[in-house]
Amino acid sequence: MRTGVLTVALTLALSSAAWAEDVTLGMILPMTGPSASTGKQEKAGAELYMAQHGATVAGKTIRLEIKDDTGAADVTKRLAQDLISNDHAAALLGFGLTPLALAVAPIATEAKVPQIVTAAATAVITEKSPFIVRTSYTLPQACAPMADWAFKNGIKKVVSIVIDYGPGLDAEKWFGDTFKKDGGEIVEAIRVPLKNPDFAPFLQRVADDKPDAVFVFVPSGFGAVFMKQFVERGLDKAGIKLIGDGGVTDDDQLAGIGDVALGAVTAHHYSAAHDSAENKAFVQAFVKANGFLPNFMAVAAYDGMALVYHALETTKGDTDGAGLLAAMKGAKWMSPRGPLEIDADTREIVQNVYIRKVEKKDGALFNVEFETIPMVKDPFKASKK
């Protein structure tokens, strides 16, 4: 018994990391570079959760380490390795882009540390490691219901226009396949290069194709220029509706986009205008702490922390990776965005998808939800069964 105690004492004394009562959570985000707005929102969301729920869970003190990977996958990988080996992180969160999440997958598997993806949205990510759990969303999850809604509402011919990179191609495929299966026609699928997107020539093609609607996927940041040029080209006056993934009307950007966004219908998993008591409290606290509105990135980080806290409570503070992972699988809770569940098989997030329209409320622009598709499981994984 005494040797046992001595060994523990020695181990504690010799360990270079924090005391055994501390649990370190590593959050790797792009705080600088082109995706910096993602990092800013996610950091605010995670910190709000800790501020509201305290830094103690199951008798352990939580330390949140937020690291900037500047959006470069090799930096993400190195930071993940540092967090695991030097800081003994119990879980990793964040991953602002798909390549960043994929780069860390092998490390999570080898170190048996849960990797919670709170930003990246390409469907295949959760398959790359049995330790990956997602609290953000997947493109198929939003685009398939968008296609169903469009067809049911009289839109039969669509031109899809996406930015030519991973998530864009996901969006194009899942919207297109679902829409065609419903009986609709994809007149053309346009891919715009990631660099220097001047949408003018591409929108001219849309105008010439004369569809009922144009389905668009652009990363946040490009929503403004797309909308402006959409209106400038007179496409709205030509009767072409604008539908898309909710990223194009990102709550963070909506004020900057201005009134040209009015009437755009999008499908997404979170709107700052979501009408629930939890969300009202969340938005109020968030704006008070940060001075800007939360968007879907912030709420995903908030929920990522909620998931970790829940897992630690379930394991009574035990930071063994496999134990935490088991506690996360099948977790169900109410988030500001609506009810959430982590699918026990795929470790993917299951959540409501809302169809919303951009409207003016109290003088400001919001995505107002008017239809809910409850508890959508990721269609990509479902199609493989």
Partner: protein
């Protein structure tokens, strides 16, 4: 849109009105590129100075317009002279204090120095103004479209063509019709001989640099609406395009930059319309071909103006 047989199927939208609209879009884009790049062309041709920080002046002009409009409510057109003046003044200050030390330096030193300036300007902008693109909301009289004989054109694009065309004309008249212009051309041809003949090459350099930087700023302000706002990564994003304009047009007078820019603008827009999958690559392909066929650019020195 009015009849004229514009059935517009996805495969062959070859009707005349689509082509004319595209042509005008391309010319508008090309004009913007011209105003952005002509300062770079002249600096390179006149002072043999590789100023990679040129994009930073464009960013500065864009920010001047965005901030004046968004924070001080200044009307768009009123901000444009300031979008020219402020980068011009900054240009003079930098030229007198920093740039002139490197006129005799090797091209590599100039590149390193100017890129260093860009690497300082970008985080400074991020720190002061944040990473979100600053949007410009055009006044209503510049928004929307008009149709002339079935060809639709955005009003702002027409405005861009008119304004930049006027600037190009003014520059050319100035270059050819004034004594300052004559001295400038002399200094470009042979700065030693010009200075030997009493031309104050120093002042010439300073003024030219200022005007070039000012034009870059104006270009940035005009481009802000088209490219989705001004953000701290603007200088590097558009540096490559500006360099391509200068490479194709030849680092020389105004006309080279103008034709290079127009060519690029039209080919870029047309390429993206007709072959969207590789359209963005067209400008690079054109640059490669130009460099193989005429390495000094299409309108390089000694080819007459």
């Amino acid at each position: 849109m009015a009849g004229q047989g514009c059935g517009g199927g996805a495969s062959q939208p070859g009707c005349v009105c689509a082509m004319l609209t595209l042509l005008l879009d391309g010319v508008a884009y090309g004009m913007l590129l011209f105003v952005l790049s002509c300062g770079l062309a002249v600096t390179l041709g006149l002072m043999n100075f590789i100023n990679l920080a040129h994009g930073a002046f464009a960013m500065l002009g864009g920010y001047v317009t965005a901030l004046l409009m968004n924070r001080a409510g200044v009307p768009f057109l009123a901000t444009l002279p300031l979008a020219f003046l402020i980068p011009a003044v900054v240009g003079i200050v930098l030229e007198r204090t920093l740039y002139r030390r490197l006129y005799r330096a090797s091209p590599l030193d100039q590149v390193l120095f100017t890129i260093g300036l860009v690497f300082m300007a970008m985080p400074a902008a991020n720190f002061l103004l944040g990473d979100q693109p600053q949007q410009i909301h055009l006044p209503t009289y510049l928004q929307g479209r008009i149709e002339i004989g079935g060809v639709g054109i955005g009003i702002y694009r027409l405005f861009t063509i008119a304004l930049c065309g006027a600037i190009a004309a003014a520059l050319q008249i100035f270059l050819v019709g004034t004594r300052f212009g004559a001295r400038l051309r002399a200094a470009v041809d042979d700065s030693r001989a010009a200075s030997g003949l009493g031309v104050d090459v120093d002042t010439l350099f300073a003024v030219t640099f200022a005007v070039g930087s000012g034009l870059a700023g104006l270009g940035g302000a005009l481009a802000a609406d088209v490219v989705g706002g001004i953000d701290p990564s603007f200088p590097l994003k558009y540096l490559v395009v500006m360099l391509i304009v200068v490479t194709i047009g030849g680092a020389n007078g105004i006309l080279g930059a103008l034709f290079g820019a127009l060519l690029l603008g039209i080919l870029d827009v047309a390429g993206k319309y007709y072959v969207p999958s590789i359209g963005a690559f067209i400008i690079y392909a054109v640059m490669v071909v130009t460099l193989i066929v005429r390495p000094r650019g299409l309108f390089a020195k000694g080819d007459g103006r």
